[in-house]
């Protein structure tokens, strides 16, 4: 298990920060106070997925329906637009494609990002 930590002030609400955890490039996100972290490598062609936009979801209940879900949980890779759930790393464009997930948490005035979900 590898961990890194940095001051929480470096990740205010709405911000993202690129870090290295055990030699792996990781993007850490603060979305409305919730913290998420994913490897900065798209499973499709290894694009810098964590540099992409965070968007709501365009969904549809059936032909001719356009339903926009106005949250900010979809991370869109800047190369080909593949979208991933920021919470889980699961792909929307291809459900088999998954970005490796990392585990951020707050500890007092720091953010800790770990390769493992297990805490102290």
């Amino acid at each position: 298990m590898a961990e890194i930590r940095f001051p929480a002030t470096e990740l205010p609400e709405g911000a993202r920060k690129m870090v290295s955890v055990g030699g792996i490039d990781v993007g850490v996100f603060n979305v409305g106070g919730e913290l998420f972290a994913l490897q900065n490598r798209c499973p499709h062609q290894w694009g810098p997925v964590c540099e992409g936009d965070l968007l709501g979801a365009m969904e549809s209940a059936g032909p001719g329906r356009y339903d926009y879900v106005p949250d900010s949980y979809r991370l869109r890779c800047p190369w080909h637009g593949w979208e991933f759930d920021i919470k889980t790393g699961c792909g929307w464009t291809d459900i088999k494609a998954r970005v490796r997930r990392f585990y951020p948490r707050r500890e007092e005035d720091e953010v800790v990002v770990s390769t493992s979900p297990g805490t102290v």
Binding site: Q45, G47, P48, R76, W79, H80
Partner: protein, 368 residues
Amino acid sequence: MTGIVDCDVHPAPVSSQVLDDFLPFGWRDRRQLAQYLPQQWQRYREALGDRSYMGAEYPRPTPRAARGDSWPGNGGPPGSDLGLLREQLLDAWQIDYGVMNPLLGAGEQLNLEYGGALCHAINDWQREVWTSPEPRLHASVCVPFEDAGLSVAEIRRVAADEAFCQVLVHCRTQEPLGRRKYWPIYEAAVEYRLPVAIHFGGWGGHPPTPAGFPSFYIEDTFSMAAAFAAQLTSLVFEGVLERFPGLRFVLIESGLTWLPGYFARLDRSWRLLHDEVAHVSRTPSEQVRAQVAVTTQPFDEPGPPSRLADFFAKLGMDDRVLFSTDYPHWDFESPGHGPLRLLDPVRKQRIMRDNAMEWFRFGNRAHG
């Protein structure tokens, strides 16, 4: 493997004014030079802008159809900054040669004289802004391809310069490319030993699908393979490939997984209906395999190495497949981590580099 050749790179002017400096006499923006010189064509461009057929563009999925990270920091559009192009493409992947295909609408101008002037400007701009400072990049001769006379004049003006490695036309044309009106372009290409590149896109005034106007860009882009198939079919059955044995075409951004099935149907149709085209003496697919190359992007990712090997065996064009990225467009294919990473080393070497080195005679381009 040493080096890579990328057969589809798209440069863009920093702004529409940049090209004005390269417009030939009578078209150039003279105001900054001297107030008393003719302004007619510069005024035309300023007042009316480019004019092609209505409805030519289905909205792309991203601004300027570009990768989100390809916008230079200086505010210019993707593909307009040589430094970023080097960083994200040429240096990032150790690319030995890149072939530029400027898609700036010059070939589709309804005012043919203006289209010719625009091609003139684009070709000079490629040379001065791109190939002179960066010899890894090669240029395409842009031509107003709906008028053979103007196109041949432009080929003759620049083709002796080894910075130019092909003549560029678009896939959707007014008439199928085998028709006689285009033949003078082919004669000039043969004379200068340049392949004719047919690139994705264009607009000949027809609906983008043979069934009419679709609702979605996804249909527009998907149906381009049908347009490429129509062009190949025309080149074969009009007898162009046989009439000009030295003529070579390269399909750019056509995709290629449709080709094996297309070949089977093409040959079968010819066996049944050959009387109508008695001038066609060789099996159509043989002609195409001999005189046509095809670039890799967008590759339809047919999965594991065994399926890739099956596909390339069916295609039968191992020496005619040329690697391309389509940088900086949204469907850019990564040289390192794209679907071709799973190719066997022998095919990979041919496709990523050697085929294009032979096809374009890079490093060995003496004309004659």
